[in-house]
Symmetry: C2
Subunit: 187 residues, 2 copies
Amino acid sequence: MRRFAIVGHRATTDPGFSLNDMPGSAGRMDVLCRCVNAGFFLSHDLRRNVECYLILKGGPETTILFKGDSVRSLNPDERSAGALIKKALGKTCGSEFIESSPGVFIRRGGLARLLSEYPFAVLDESGDDIRIVKSLPENLLLSDHQNFTEEEEAMTADLPRLSVGPQVLHADHTITIYQNEADRRSA
Amino acid sequence: MRRFAIVGHRATTDPGFSLNDMPGSAGRMDVLCRCVNAGFFLSHDLRRNVECYLILKGGPETTILFKGDSVRSLNPDERSAGALIKKALGKTCGSEFIESSPGVFIRRGGLARLLSEYPFAVLDESGDDIRIVKSLPENLLLSDHQNFTEEEEAMTADLPRLSVGPQVLHADHTITIYQNEADRRSA
């Protein structure tokens, strides 16, 4: 299983956000939607061995999980992932995941809980090159367009850090390059 | 200069298309918008050394050019590129590029003309691995979600072919992985 977790620092938890303005009033929800795309899509196929965790912090901290082995109605465009996120946010939920549509789940709580559940590595420009590390971690944590907060840095200070190359990239591009390295190693 | 050309087999040339339905009525314009994103965006920066040619075939064959050294008002979300494409399609143009907004140009004509102007290589799963080729071509041609037509295959039969890895990927993901290899070689 490959797991990607992306922290959306301003991403709204209000299901009323507009799919026509995800960069603005939805708090850069477009960034998270592109990460979902990068996590799952192959040409005319979906990666079934992927889980994608979106940590929304623009409201009561909330986690939305997309599971590749069961997700339905997910298309590559940003609005498609956005519509599934909207639907999830419309569900009443507590601290355990409930399914809002096939393969999409939501719970209250965010990064601290997730870090206690899986051993993550951080995809970060300061890390070791993914092409030369001996074994590639399966669970990867990324930030959206903003840097990790001081609190998040403290929570992740002891985690391995991996870099995908010499340029600082968008989170979704970083996921795409990680997938390529993982594909090559498992080919 | 890095040049990416992407053939949009059904991409509309009608400026009336809806930004709310780029996968449907606009003929998978969303694919081309994501290619623009992958071509240009760095974290909080734009790649100025990139040109992106979109070849729209869902109407009279038309080419839209984004130039990294002068483009303005381009944001990472699909709607942003889509809005600039819409604006370009609203311009009356002939066989020479005219500028529709800063750094965005449009002309009639498509792949045949472009292939006569630059020496392209084709990004294709059957090609040589980009990690092992001695020199990386600067001008890359890709297809959208559809395969090249027989006519396009004939036009490109003699061009070098490069592959980014073992999986068949979306065009924008392929561009992202190419950029990473090129970044590493020029670092």
